[in-house]
Symmetry: C2
Subunit: 109 residues, 2 copies
DNA sequence: CCGCATATATCGCGACGTGATATATATGGA
DNA sequence: TCCATATATATCACGTCGCGATATATGCGG
């Protein structure tokens, strides 16, 4: 799973969001590291829905513009939790090796 | 950066390894989750060398078979440490949201 | 002698993120 | 008033990259 997909799932886990809101949430979640392109976003959203990880939520008109919301499914939440565990495990494994080899950890130390 | 690349870097950070040794190390590191295909491996190794993240090490004949070793560069070590930090941050962000939403964390609970 | 593990390498395919492009409305500055 | 920017949607061609298949060769165990 790419970082983009992971962050989109995380953004949706917080609360249902519309496309543009996801872009902003991911930018904030990643501390401005990941700027989602709309071409990426809609492709990912279609796949999330197809896989049952997310589903369409309400639609509303906000200031004359359509907002199409998406919501994380239970399955999507489980997938995200599982993936978070993998990421943490991988990061821990790398840090363990790096520490043993005397490489400075990324924590700014 | 894909999980495959991350685990290959981690395997090399431990000590210089040859291709087949990397495959086994990644399998072990990931607790049998990731089985590296050789098509993936050699493509990644070429890119790591091209990017200066790894370099060719010694070659030896072990039991009649050639072993071509690769070694992580300082730059590769820094990249790995940085990426490990990203993964940990992303995992923490997801877990924070999941916890707040009452989704069970992946930790086997 | 044959199958499996070890060990290398290449190639086409499919999946996916990127960048460009298109369309439309509200806001704010020149 | 007019134009740039932010908001908000969607599509498509392109390049990258992991996967699966394939090829080649040796050592070991049954």
């Amino acid at each position: 799973m790419s970082e983009q997909v992971f962050l989109i799932l995380t953004a949706l886990a917080d609360e249902p969001k519309h496309g543009y809101g996801i872009v902003q949430a991911v930018e904030k979640l990643s501390e401005n590291r990941v700027r989602l392109r709309v071409g990426t976003l809609y492709g990912v959203l279609d796949r999330l829905v197809a896989d049952g990880w997310a589903e369409r939520d309400k639609e509303e008109i906000h200031q004359g513009r359509l907002r199409r919301y998406y919501r994380l499914t239970d399955l999507g939440g489980r997938v995200l939790a599982e993936q978070a565990r993998r990421l943490a495990a991988n990061a821990a494994a790398a840090n363990s090796v790096l520490r043993a080899r005397g490489w400075a950890l990324g924590g700014g130390a």
